[in-house]
């Protein structure tokens, strides 16, 4: 009964989203206010029914209703309750339903929070969101319904959730990532609505900006947690593999980052308008492309997703409509857009323009590296893979000018600057960052490679120049505390985001340069030393979890004969499916991680173990968290809060 309710309310939601697509757009076209006014309630209604449908699937999973095919394939009765909930998005159909919840959720929030917008624009934004909703719901209902039943012969036990996905990271990673992907559809809708209206002015950028920032914040958080999940769960100690599925999330992130910088120029200075619109269309298109790549089965990836060519084709067609439609509209309307402001070569406008160029080039590199193997194979030229060194090398090259620019950018003012004015500050920061980095690295490590020194210096450079800028801006207002109070939240968001990037750069550089790993074979009470830590193998004991059994290698970690920690590196075998899984033991720390994975028993009775010492690996995720915080911070900014006040006055 419950699954039928789920399917039925999804159908109702679909009907509402068809109306949401037609009524407001038609109303805006003909100037019919009554039709436009229907949009917000339709949006909220659509969200309610999608939510009911999602709740039905969670209920079916929690109550072990194995008549539902999706539950039977992705859950089991022995699964802990929180993983039962997680299993509702652990497979394809459920993941798409979660996507729908997010899509309808964003639409509803836009409907509620857009009262300050003129009706014609509000109706068009919601109409475009409705159109996107129709596409995804059609897909769910026709091709990937999670409510298919296995009647009359249903299994008594489910096939269990893939053990890889039984991890806290998996509980939050997909929802966050989807919030980001789908959130970009709001920026997209704002851009399309503005094109339809023909009014691409500063206020459009001002409306779009907080939505874009929020979506980007979620996307950042999702990618960060995904990387952490891969690190802790895949057992290789890696945190980024340039895997097509990862690239699929990185591309929209890069373009969205470019978009929010470009939006700030459009909002403040009224230039780059058409470019901003193009980025908004591109960001969401790349989200869709990512979905296509992940779901179509066109590529082989380490992430094992259920794939199906028919489904891929539907997404491809939808992608073609969205991208094609968006770009056609853009081509028709872009000639009416005129830039207002003028600026000189040394100005913040040019710095942000260069930022955009670098980010777009980076996106193209990822796109090329991701699509080339597919194209190569489809053309019948045999299958190839593009190695990680390609991406690493390209990003390392791009990083240098990008990071230098990131330090200079905030110091620049709009319109024009005198070079002499900047000279001293930059020289000071450059010398300071070179000295500090050299002292730090040469005191800590015996060998410092030139590239390591360069990249770390760049990270410190970003921190120093940003700090200098904060100091400068506060000094204007007399006392420091008074000055700090006067800075706007969106300024702090910039500071936080840039410092976050500095952490990511430093973390990636140092952990790549100074990670050490050793594969060893150990018998009980053997001791192995690695980077000042001694690892004493205590033996192997058997373990039993709710839905798995296995054994754990116990290792005591010592430093100068003091016990640091005791690690349990597990090898689990799950009861259903009998899959083996390595569960690495990690001792996390601010400046280093100790990472231990258990291998198999050797014929001489010893056990193979892999030990890693990873310095500063956590800085990467710390940086990611700071960046995403920057995305959410802008919501509190006065400029956008005032928007709300005006709303209340109007209402």
């Amino acid at each position: 009964m419950i699954p039928e309710i789920g399917y039925f309310s999804l159908t109702l939601a679909m009907v509402l989203s068809v109306l949401l697509c037609i009524f407001p757009l038609w109303g805006a076209h003909t100037g019919n206010l009554r039709l436009m006014r229907a949009a917000p309630s339709l949006a909220v209604g659509q969200f309610a029914f999608v939510l009911i449908s999602f709740a039905a699937l969670i209920y079916a999973s929690l109550t072990d209703d194995f008549t539902v095919a999706y539950v039977a394939y992705h859950s089991s009765s022995t699964l802990p309750w929180y993983y039962k909930i997680t299993s509702t998005w652990g497979g394809h159909e459920g993941a798409i339903l979660l996507w729908l919840v997010m899509q309808a959720g964003w639409t509803a929030v836009v409907a509620v929070r857009s009262r300050s917008l003129p009706w014609i624009l509000r109706a068009r934004v919601l109409g475009v969101l409705g159109f996107l909703g129709v596409g995804f719901m059609l897909y769910t209902l026709l091709m990937s319904s999670p409510f298919e039943l296995l009647l009359p012969y249903y299994p008594v036990e489910g096939r269990d959730l893939n053990p890889l996905l039984q991890d806290p990271g998996m509980i939050i990673h997909p929802p966050l990532l989807y919030m980001g992907y789908v959130g970009l559809s709001v920026s997209f809708s704002f851009a399309i609505a503005a094109l339809l209206t023909g009014k691409l002015d500063n206020s459009w950028a001002k409306w779009s900006r907080p939505w874009t920032m929020t979506a980007w914040g979620f996307l950042t958080l999702g990618i960060t947690i995904g990387s952490w999940w891969a690190y802790s769960e895949l057992g290789w100690g890696g945190w980024w593999f340039w895997d097509p599925v990862e690239n699929a999330s990185l591309m929209p992130w890069l373009v969205a980052t470019a978009l929010l910088h470009s939006l700030s120029v459009t909002e403040k200075r009224g230039v780059f308008k058409s470019w901003t619109v193009l980025l908004a269309i591109a960001a969401f298109s790349l989200s869709l492309l990512g979905t296509f790549i992940v779901r179509s089965g066109i590529i082989v990836s380490v992430h094992a997703f259920a794939t199906d060519p028919d489904r891929g084709l539907f997404i491809l067609a939808f992608l073609a409509i969205v991208v094609g439609g968006g770009l056609t509209l853009y081509a028709l309307r872009v000639s009416q857009v005129k830039s207002e402001g003028r600026y000189k070569l040394i100005s913040r406008e040019v710095a942000l323009w260069l930022n955009n160029i670098f980010l777009v080039v980076a996106t193209f590199i990822v796109l090329l590296g991701t699509l080339l193997p597919m194209v190569h194979k489809e053309m019948g030229l045999g299958s190839i893979s593009i190695g990680e060194p390609f991406f690493n090398k390209m990003f390392a090259i791009l990083l240098v000018p990008f990071a230098i620019l990131m330090g200079i950018g905030p110091l620049l003012r709009w319109k024009q600057n005198k070079w002499t004015f900047l000279q001293n500050k930059m020289l000071l920061s450059a010398i300071a960052s070179i000295v500090v980095t050299s002292v730090w690295l040469f005191l800590s490590y015996d060998v410092v490679a030139p590239l390591t020194l360069l990249a770390t210096t760049l990270a410190i450079w970003i921190v120093f120049t940003t700090g200098l800028d904060v100091f400068d801006k506060t000094r204007v207002h007399g006392s420091l505390t008074n000055g700090l109070k006067r800075l706007s939240l969106s300024y702090w968001a910039m500071v936080l985001g840039h410092v976050g990037i500095a952490f990511v750069i430093a973390g990636v550089t140092l952990t790549s340069a100074y990670s050490v790993e050793r594969d060893v074979s150990m018998k009980p009470l053997d001791v192995v030393s690695l980077n000042q830590y001694d690892y004493r193998f205590e033996g192997v004991k058997s373990i039993r979890g709710p839905n798995y059994s296995g054994h754990a290698g116990v290792v005591t970690v010592l430093k100068n004969n003091n016990v640091v920690t005791k690690l349990h590196a597990e090898k689990r075998q799950y009861d259903i499916g009998m899959q083996f899984m390595t569960e690495a033991a990690i001792d996390a720390g601010f400046s280093r991680d100790l990472y231990l994975a258990l291998g198999e028993q050797l014929s001489n009775g010893g056990w193979s173990l892999r030990i890693y010492h990873k310095p500063f690996v956590r800085w990467m995720w710390l940086g990611g968290l700071l960046i995403s915080l920057a995305g959410f911070m802008i919501l509190g900014d006065k400029r956008y809060r005032n928007n709300k006040k005006r709303e209340q006055e109007v209402a």
Binding site: V302, I386, S521, L602
Partner: protein, 159 residues
């Protein structure tokens, strides 16, 4: 030339040079990092219409089934060697380290490494996917002779 045109010309030249430099760099980096995929038969007999064989020292990927009974482990170290097969000849893979959880005899795997002898590869990475029924698409194709079925281009098949 008036100053505005001059500025534009400068900007355009900079962009053209920038794009040129980026494309050059990308192509160069690509050339170094494209790893061709071979099956054991292709490695021995040659690949493609010209039956091209990889040269010693080439970085490549190979996929096949682990021949049952061919896995030899060193007594005390983590050195392991095994043979891969698809339809004909055997290729030996040597690897130092912990094999993935799903590595088993008779299972399809993909290894990445360097060709050290005409039929021996020194692998630095061995992948077996985390899925019971999984066989890398490339291996399945090679072993079973089944071609990857192209999607049918009609939208109305609503199965």
């Amino acid at each position: 030339m008036n100053p505005r045109r001059k500025k534009r010309l400068l900007a355009v030249t900079a962009i053209v040079f920038g794009i040129g430099a980026v494309i050059g760099l990308v192509l160069y980096a690509l050339q170094e990092n494209i790893n061709l995929f071979y099956t054991p038969s292709e490695l021995i007999d040659g690949k493609g219409p010209n039956l091209e064989k990889p040269h010693i020292g080439q970085k490549l990927r190979i996929g096949g089934m682990v021949v049952p009974g061919s896995v030899v482990r060193d007594e005390s170290s983590l050195q392991v060697s095994f043979k891969l097969i698809d339809t004909g000849p055997l290729v030996t893979i040597r690897y130092q380290g912990i094999l993935p959880d799903l590595f088993r005899e008779g299972q399809g795997i993909v290894a990445q490494g360097v060709l050290v002898e005409p039929d021996v590869i020194e692998a630095f990475e061995v992948l077996a996917k985390h899925d019971e029924e999984y066989m890398p698409a490339e291996v399945a194709e090679a072993v079973k002779g089944i071609k990857h079925e192209k999607p049918k281009y009609n939208l109305d098949s609503g199965n």
